[in-house]
Amino acid sequence: MARITAGIGCSHVPAIGAALDQGKTSEAYWAPVFEGFNWTRDWIAGETPDVVILVYNDHASAFSLDVIPTFAIGCAESYAPADEGWGARPVPIVRGCPDLAWHLAEALILDGFDMAIVNKMDVDHGLTVPLSLMFGQCTAWPVTVIPLAVNVIQYPPPSGRRCYQLGKALRRAVQTFPQDLNVQIWGTGGMSHQLQGPRAGLINSAFDQAFLDDLTRDPNGLASKAHMEYLRYAGSEGIELVMWLVMRGALGQEITELRRFYHVPASNTAVGHIVLQPRSDGDRYEGFAAPGTELGVPDVR
């Protein structure tokens, strides 16, 4: 049986990727950011999953304004790093996990989540910066990845509640996949930031710390937070934080917070990071039969 063994939240600021690619990680400005991820880099080296379900948003790289999927799941064999206007990042091709991805797509759709299925797309900094933060510079990523893209650019994004529920459905779907796979789920983006208009540069550390507290202790309450609150208090781009609720929903109720890090700034943004571990599979959901796992003889009389 596949199982979700950990959840990671982290920002995906593009300048972090650029700093890494250009060898600036020990500069005074960047050192505190990268040092903040040292613990996790050591930890994940011993806990490397087979698959990462990576919840992120595309930044006008794969999806133009022609088609704007609210939730999209990548089912491809691989994904190339996108050229976002300055050439593609010099990072490895991202290997997909189409067997599990298709299982998740089918299970989620039949469970009430109308996912868009993506068979070909490039992936931008939203997906590759978190991989770089966890695995550093490498010639091949040590994990396969299932990209789960959430629209947070075109208003309105899905509600925090819907994201949290999607996480719960992902947990059910992973647990009905027969192959023994170690799966992590990462929620990325945020924390407070605003990239446009005279209010650009807004940072709200109190909001961010409360978000991290609630993510651990009261995710159900946090899921009720309205879009207006994110926009007003965390900045127009701070609304990316709803993606962390997908991650949290997939971990079950009982979790242990292993690691937390918070730093201002990276470029225009507050950097947040959290590592959460489910305490058990005790709340495993049994009432849902995934496609292809039904047993027995069909009644065809």
Binding site: G87, Q154, L202
Partner: protein, 137 residues
């Protein structure tokens, strides 16, 4: 009575909603075309000619040519699309974003290193107006 979404109350902020999407569709799609290196070269070689290939308003074209990011946002641009113009200009996100605040890059960077822009006076136009009225009395 005119309906105005609640997020219009946030100072200095344009939420990219359906109205903005309709207004800026072609502007944003033009930006997206700059993901292709060949298009970036053509744009840099002759910006007005490249812009004329797109059904943009004169105000949109002028804002692009001036690199007036607040102007582009007002004309329906979305920052993640507009960032392709900045990337084509070899500008960082800080260099792009600071232009919208009326601050120099060093002053903006210093503000960010100091913890970012405070929320003080930045949360609600109505609240700011009330506070201004009270201080007059």
């Amino acid at each position: 009575m005119t309906f105005a979404p609640e997020y219009h109350d946030i100072p200095g902020t344009t939420v990219f909603d359906g109205v903005q999407c309709r207004r800026g569709y072609h502007l944003n799609q033009f930006c997206m075309s700059l993901m292709d290196p060949a298009n970036r070269d053509r744009f840099k070689a002759n910006e007005p000619a490249y812009l004329d290939e797109w059904p943009l308003t004169e105000a949109q074209k002028a804002a692009v040519l001036r690199r007036d990011y607040n102007g582009m946002i007002a004309e329906g641009g979305n920052i993640y699309f507009l960032a392709k113009i900045g990337a084509t200009d070899s500008k960082s996100f800080v260099q792009i974003v600071s232009t919208m605040t009326g601050m120099t890059v060093p002053a903006y960077t210093a503000m960010m290193v100091g913890g970012g822009r405070s929320t003080q006076g930045q949360l609600s136009k109505r609240q700011n107006a009330l506070a201004a009225d009270e201080s007059e009395q």
